[in-house]
């Protein structure tokens, strides 16, 4: 049901997001509610816009309370009006507080609106779905193998009590065919992931913590956006220096290795993963590669180009290459790619100089609606 308030609410959300009425933004304070969700204590941020008025300065005013305590004891929780302090620490020490901000769905929506990202055109392949049978109901007919023992005897007992043939002294229950009950099932259609992101990251010595942080943030946003576009989304992670290996998410973001860089090793592994698991007719495939662009040799770069051109690009929706700037790297790789794939639409390259450039870079990657 749509409520009258929805209009006012979306207007408020838009003000908070800074889309309209920018002049109100400076009055926004970020309060929080401390709530409970299961066992966890969650902090629910509630943005608030206070219209300025002639009011008293909070701190001078003080107030009256009720309860135990000696003079000089702190008053629990402070005043309600004192929400202005930003990012106040949680009030229950020892409890782990989770942030529940916007849902990821909302986040993706904001991202989409903010960056004016087009919705992705599905490759037009049939959505894959598996069916799963769930035994959820009871029927009066069915194969003997599915007979529900308990229910059948319960029915028999009911019938016998109702007809007065049940003798509590000698409690024998005999089912007749009418009493028989069988399990029955419902078939659920479950959508299966039909999109996969393969993240590749250069973890050679030249990639510092800051570079990795950038990759982490960027891949989070890419994840969020693609998740909003596809029902199921799988992610795979590859790290490489001179050799490549597949790792889990955690390792991906926290590994620091040293050594040389052979980008082709990652591309080979990526190709192998695609070929083994993700037939391109059924999957939307998104490889993203992040590196500082310092490849071992021109030969290896050429191998990469070959792999991309003939093997990988035909199979994927798009291939993203993001280059972070590092003090050590020459940053040659992106130039080579741009030169050699000038006309290739599926290959998207982006340079990410610093954290502030992440937004533009996401837009470059996802702005084409592939």
């Amino acid at each position: 049901m749509s409520l009258r308030i929805d209009q006012d609410h979306s207007r408020f959300r838009n003000i908070v997001r800074g889309k309209i009425r920018q002049n109100l933004r400076r009055y926004i304070t970020h309060g929080e509610l401390i709530g409970r969700k299961g066992k966890d204590v969650v902090s629910v941020p509630i943005p608030q816009i206070d219209i300025p008025r002639f009011r008293f300065a909070d701190r001078q005013q003080g107030g009256v309370g009720q309860g135990d305590g000696e003079i000089g004891d702190p008053v629990g929780g402070g005043q309600e009006g004192d929400r202005s302090g930003q990012g106040k620490a949680g009030k229950d020490p020892g409890d782990h507080i989770l942030e529940v901000d916007v849902t990821l769905e909302e986040l993706a929506q904001i991202l989409g609106e903010e960056l004016e990202l087009p919705d992705i055109e599905d490759k037009g392949k049939s959505k894959i779905a598996t069916t799963k049978d769930r035994y959820t109901g009871i029927r009066r007919v069915g194969p003997e193998s599915l007979r529900h023992f308990k229910r059948t005897y319960r029915e028999a007992l009911k019938r016998m009590i109702a007809s007065g043939t049940f003798n509590p002294e000698r409690p024998v229950v005999v089912p007749i065919p009418d009493d028989k009950r069988y399990r029955s099932w419902k078939t659920d259609v479950e959508p299966v992931a039909n999109a996969v992101i393969i993240y590749m990251m250069d973890v050679s010595g030249s990639m510092g913590d800051e570079q990795k942080e950038i990759v982490r943030i960027e891949s989070f946003w890419i994840d969020t956006w693609l998740k909003s576009q596809y029902k199921g989304l799988e992610s795979r992670y590859i790290i490489h220096d001179a050799v490549a290996r597949e790792v889990d998410r955690d390792t991906f973001f926290h590994t620091r290795e040293s050594g040389g860089t052979m980008i082709s090793s990652a591309y080979k592994l990526c190709l192998k993963i695609i070929e083994d698991n993700y037939p391109p007719e059924e999957w939307n495939i998104y490889p993203f590669h992040f590196s500082d662009g310092d490849n071992w040799s021109m030969d290896d770069t050429l191998t990469c180009v070959e792999l991309l051109k003939h093997k990988i690009l035909p199979k994927v929706n798009m291939f993203g290459y993001g280059q972070v700037e590092s003090p050590y790297g020459s940053g040659q790789f992106i130039k080579d790619l741009r030169e050699l794939f000038a006309k290739e639409e599926k290959l998207v390259t982006s340079e990410i100089r610093d954290k502030d450039a992440i937004v533009t870079s996401i837009k470059e990657f996802l702005g084409k609606g592939k």
């Binding site: 049901m1 409520l3 009258r4 308030i5 209009q7 006012d8 609410h9 979306s10 207007r11 408020f12 959300r13 003000i15 309209i20 009425r21 002049n23 109100l24 009055y27 509610l33 709530g35 409970r36 969700k37 969650v42 629910v44 509630i46 943005p47 608030q48 816009i49 219209i51 300025p52 008025r53 002639f54 009011r55 008293f56 300065a57 909070d58 701190r59 001078q60 005013q61 003080g62 107030g63 009256v64 309370g65 009720q66 309860g67 135990d68 305590g69 000696e70 003079i71 000089g72 004891d73 702190p74 008053v75 629990g76 929780g77 402070g78 005043q79 529940v100």
Partner: protein, 518 residues
């Protein structure tokens, strides 16, 4: 309204309970407007609560903000709204769908006492739409049945604002509403009871007489030379001109002053008037929060435990009741404070613990066992509910014994420890703090002092400083809103850190200068 009324009729078993509860309440002497109960789902409840109880208000983002806070805290199980009641005639009240019968009965009993309060407390007379001229706070007509069709009134406001938005665009209108809301608290709570001011216009045509020195006729032109007289006359005229202040007397209803004198467009005037009317509507509720909730809690517990509940519900009821009256984290709960004070009054007047003899008695022992069996308690609390507001209620009935028994304390900000700390448990300090918070509904006293400040058509407001400074950043922002209305620079005279200060905004920059109080 109608679309809600249709879907939300009360089921018959609740209607029966309503009749029963009303009957019991009348038996106890409660006197209330007819009450229309409606039952709402939680999202509708949150919506209407966000609109301040009215299903139909003008569009504004802050209602959306309220809604988000209410629904978030509902979703995370932090709070839910049990009841809501609107001061109107007939009164409207909302019950939350899915509450247990015990809870609904509790809410109905609570609501009926609220409506009794709305009808009988003097402060709410200011919300009578058919009142004209000065309202007498004590006497009211026989068969008092005022027009308080506020649901319609608010819906009309909504329509008017919507029409204006259609014509001038949401952005422009909303910005103006924000400016109005910045000034919303600058109204005069006494105005409805003061009536329209009859200004004593001095007769300007009275000739100016210059005092002459006594003289013989023939000497007169020499002793009182014509040129000198003329010069004197001019001087007096100028002085008179200077004295002609505008406004003549400081005016507390800043909104009214702007409405009458600021160069506003018609639609702006329309909106400002709406905001002002609604501010006056909500004012009595702010002035009587403690009393109103106390009164309703007093009666719901009386009615529930003396007739409405059966034995199986008592535990459930006690559980709910205790959560309503709970104090946590040292915070003052108006429900609790109010109900305990009413009970305190009832007990004192039952036992005759008042008057000169009581005041002058020094023996704690005697006081403890003081019981003259007067039985005046019930009568007294009915009188109190009609003739007091929170300020006078606390001022007259808060006693040292009460503060001690209920462990009240005053708190203040400690600069050294960066936190609020318990400051004192002395009766006087507690009472002073409490009264300060309640006076003028917690707002500073602000007057329009001069509309031709420094003879430049600038507006000067004056903050009557009573020990607590204004919040400086907000004061500056509020000046912006004032400038947008007044279209000329606006200043406010106040005190910061013990120094008289004038803050001024001229539309481009803020200035402040020290000022010596004359």
């Amino acid at each position: 309204m109608s679309d809600i009324a249709l879907k939300t009729q009360l089921p018959s078993y609740l209607r029966e309970w309503q009749h029963k509860i009303e009957e019991i309440a009348r038996g106890h002497g409660l006197d209330f407007f007819p009450v229309v109960f409606e039952i709402l789902g939680y999202d509708q409840m949150n919506e209407i609560a966000a609109y301040g109880g009215f299903p139909n208000r003008y569009p504004h983002w802050r209602f959306g903000m309220e809604y988000e806070q209410l629904s978030k805290s509902y979703e995370y199980g932090l709070s839910k709204i049990y009841e809501m009641v609107i001061n109107s005639n007939p009164a409207y009240a909302y019950l939350l769908e899915g509450n247990s019968l015990t809870e609904q009965k509790l809410v109905m009993a609570h609501v009926i006492a609220h409506v009794d309060f709305f009808k009988n407390n003097f402060a709410f007379r200011a919300t009578d739409l058919d009142a004209s001229g000065r309202i007498d706070p004590v006497r009211r007509p026989e068969n008092y049945d005022p027009n308080r069709k506020w649901i319609d009134k608010m819906a009309n406001h909504g329509q008017r604002v919507r029409r204006i938005i259609e014509r001038y665009g949401i952005q422009k209108v909303e910005e103006f509403i924000d400016d109005c809301l910045s000034l919303e608290n600058l109204i005069d709570p006494h105005l409805p009871f003061a009536g329209t001011e009859t200004s004593t216009v001095e007769d300007e045509n009275v000739a100016i007489e210059v005092p002459r020195l006594r003289s013989k006729d023939y000497m007169d032109p020499f002793i009182n030379p014509e040129e000198y007289l003329e010069a004197q006359r001019r001087k007096i005229e100028e002085a008179r001109e200077r004295q002609k202040r505008f406004p003549e007397r400081p005016q507390r209803d800043v909104l009214l002053f702007l409405l009458n004198h600021a160069p506003l467009e018609r639609w702006e005037r329309d909106i400002l008037e709406i905001i002002r009317t609604e501010a006056y509507y909500f004012l009595p509720q702010m002035q009587t929060k403690i009393m109103n909730e106390g009164w309703a809690s007093y009666w719901h517990s009386k009615l529930m435990t003396e007739g409405i509940l059966d034995a199986s519900e008592i535990i459930d009821y006690a559980d709910r009741n205790s959560s309503v009256l709970a104090t946590s984290g040292g915070r003052l709960n108006p429900y609790k404070l109010g109900v305990e004070l009413f009970r305190h009054i009832e007990e004192r007047w039952d036992k005759g613990q008042f008057g000169r003899e009581w005041e002058e008695c020094d023996s704690l022992e005697m006081k403890r066992h003081w019981d003259m069996r007067l039985g005046l308690g019930r009568k007294k609390i009915f009188e109190v509910r009609a003739l007091y507001n929170d300020v006078t209620f606390i001022d007259e009935f808060l006693t040292p014994e009460f503060c001690h028994e209920h462990k009240l304390f005053s708190f203040a900000w400690s600069n050294r420890n960066e936190r609020y700390e318990i400051e004192s448990r002395e009766f006087k300090q507690i009472k002073d703090k409490l009264l300060f918070q309640l006076t003028n509904a917690g707002n500073p006293f602000i007057y329009v002092e001069d509309a031709n400040f420094e003879n430049r058509g600038e507006l000067l407001l004056r903050h009557e400083h009573q020990g607590v400074d204004l919040r400086a950043d907000w004061a500056r922002e509020t000046l912006r809103a004032l400038v947008r209305m007044w279209k000329r620079p606006v200043s406010i005279q106040t005190v910061f850190d013990g120094k008289g200060t004038i803050l001024r905004f001229d539309g481009r920059e803020h200035t402040s200068r020290l000022f010596k109080a004359s």
